[in-house]
């Protein structure tokens, strides 16, 4: 569904991504694990159209994605929840969700989609009239994810959805991601919280200093000693 081929991104002399290749198949949840500054956000930014790559290719459903400007990629079926969330802080929750359904293909099913999202995040339903910028970080993240789902995406890109959230809220967000995953939506997620992410994902890539240094099924990576040392912190879980 998504093929990233030898993609490089640089900011001036700093190379953020160096010949990165990866694939995502329909229905899969793929995780990209990496430390701060490993290039995770640059990768999602390039797929979402917020970052222009130096070279390399990205195809989505067989079409060249790099030829589309950022806004057109949403129409093509790619929804990005960026780091920092990118919601409309001055508008209400309801308005944010309505704007999410801006792509043409999303409008017809918008009401049904909205009902599903409110079932997923009941708190949004209670706060529809609240100005989004006045909500807590976790609630804003729910608005951002809900808004992305309103665009009826084929591929959901999540950039560090748990960043800066309290542990209890992180659990809530991951529980919601688990339910989104059950709907069969294809997801590419970038996270520092490797343990929770690997528990949900089918496959994962390891990104270090702009390069892919490993990949494999999430189940295997969870017990791989190198991964445990680098990303999970501490020893291999006791069941080993």
């Amino acid at each position: 569904m998504l093929e990233v081929d030898l993609l490089s991104v640089s900011y001036g002399k700093h190379v953020a991504l160096d010949n990165v290749s990866l694939t995502v198949s329909p229905g899969e949840m793929v995780a990209i694990l990496g430390a701060n500054g490993a290039g995770k956000s640059s990768l999602l930014g390039a797929i979402g159209g917020r970052v222009t790559p130096a070279h390399g290719g990205i195809t989505f459903e067989g079409a060249d994605l790099l030829r589309l400007p950022d806004h057109a990629r949403v129409e093509a079926g790619i929804a990005l929840v960026p780091e920092g969330r990118g919601i409309f802080p001055g508008l209400t929750v309801a308005e944010n969700l309505t704007l999410g359904a801006n792509p043409r293909h999303a409008r017809a099913g918008a009401d049904a989609q909205r009902a599903e999202i409110l079932a997923l995040f009941p708190r949004l339903g209670e706060r529809l009239g609240q100005v989004a910028g006045t909500m807590s970080g976790g609630e804003q993240q729910m608005v951002a994810i809900g808004r992305a789902l309103m665009s009826a995406p084929k591929l959901l890109l999540l950039d560090e959805p748990s960043l800066g959230l309290a542990p209890i809220v992180v659990q809530e967000v991951f529980a919601a991601l688990g339910r989104i995953r059950e709907t069969g939506l294809t997801i590419l997620i970038v996270e520092q919280n490797a343990r929770a992410t690997l528990a949900l994902a089918d496959r994962a890539y390891l990104l270090e200093a702009g390069r892919i240094t490993g990949s494999g099924p999430a189940q295997e990576l969870r017990t791989d000693p190198a991964v445990v040392r680098a990303f999970l912190g501490g020893a291999i879980p006791a069941e080993q």
Binding site: H71, L91, A148
Partner: protein, 288 residues
């Protein structure tokens, strides 16, 4: 007497509010501070007069064509003159300064053409100027019609901005342009629409000016400044604030002109402006 001032002030304020609405749309959505804004008002006013005197087309009929024509001119101007500035500025924030310099030049260009074509004399027409009694006060019919047009166009726009998906999209771009592409909004397209819509409002404002006021080719800058004063008074980006501030400015000017001296209207406008800038720079209705 007080009632006369009130009604005439509201009539004048209606035009001001409409002009301010257009300027705030251009600045809020396209991020272009258009110093030639008042010139577009004048072009529309002169066209209305020329059509009336030259071809006998009644201003009310010409009015129907003025808004779409203004929109088309704004659209073309954005494509030819503003788009290169937008592209060059990227995200650097240079657009604001560049657009001020470019439209400052455009101001003199349009003014020069107007002076050559229409001359430097004050212009006005007499059209529907028989008095109509409103609450016991005699008001010229053309003033009432001009006010009605401003109320319908301005009010309609405010409703559209708050109750339609299109209006929601415009507000989203005005408030958080960086997030707009995430929901598939083409910010450049909305900027062009906002600029064109602002020009259309300048033109409708100009047409209503032509119906009941005297104006000259060099007076465009006064319209721009008044619209700017109102936008800042109302709080930049605050549509409702611009409407209220516009009406308020019309009332103050009319009061000063009738109770003190007509020569002091502009001085009064700028006294208010200075006061707002000094004590409430976020605008009378701005937050914070």
């Amino acid at each position: 007497m007080a009632l006369t001032t009130l009604i005439l002030g509201l009539v004048l304020g209606g035009t001001y509010a409409l002009l301010a609405l257009g300027l705030t749309l251009q600045y809020g959505i396209a991020r272009i501070m258009n110093l030639a804004y008042g010139e577009f008002t004048l072009v529309a006013a002169f066209c209305l007069v020329a059509l009336f005197q030259g071809a006998g087309i009644p201003p009310l009929w010409a009015m129907i064509a003025v808004a779409p024509a203004g929109y088309a001119v704004g659209w073309a101007l954005y494509a030819v003159m503003m788009r290169p500035l937008v592209t060059r500025a990227g995200n650097s924030g240079r657009l604001e300064v560049d657009s001020i310099l470019a439209t400052f030049g455009l101001l003199f260009l349009i003014q020069g053409v107007l002076l050559v074509v229409f001359g430097a004399n004050f212009t006005s027409i007499s059209y529907l100027d028989q008095g109509v009694r409103v609450l016991g006060v005699s008001v010229a019919a053309n003033k009432l019609i001009a006010f009605g047009i401003c109320a319908v166009v301005g009010g309609g726009l405010v409703l559209a901005l708050h109750f339609t998906r299109w209006g929601l999209t415009l507000r989203a771009v005005a408030q958080t342009p960086g997030s707009a592409p995430l929901v598939g909004i083409d910010v450049n397209r909305m900027a062009r629409q906002g600029f064109a819509l602002g020009t259309a409002l300048a033109a409708v404002g100009g047409a209503s000016v032509a119906m009941h006021q005297t104006f000259s080719a060099t007076g465009g800058v006064v319209f721009t400044m008044k619209a700017l004063v109102i936008v800042i008074m109302g709080g930049v980006g605050n549509i409702g604030g611009a409407l209220v501030a516009g009406l308020a400015l019309g009332l103050v000017e009319t009061f000063v002109a009738t109770a003190i001296d007509p020569g002091l209207t502009l001085a009064a406008t700028f006294a208010i402006f200075l006061g707002v800038l000094l004590w409430r720079p976020q605008g009378l209705f701005g937050r914070g």
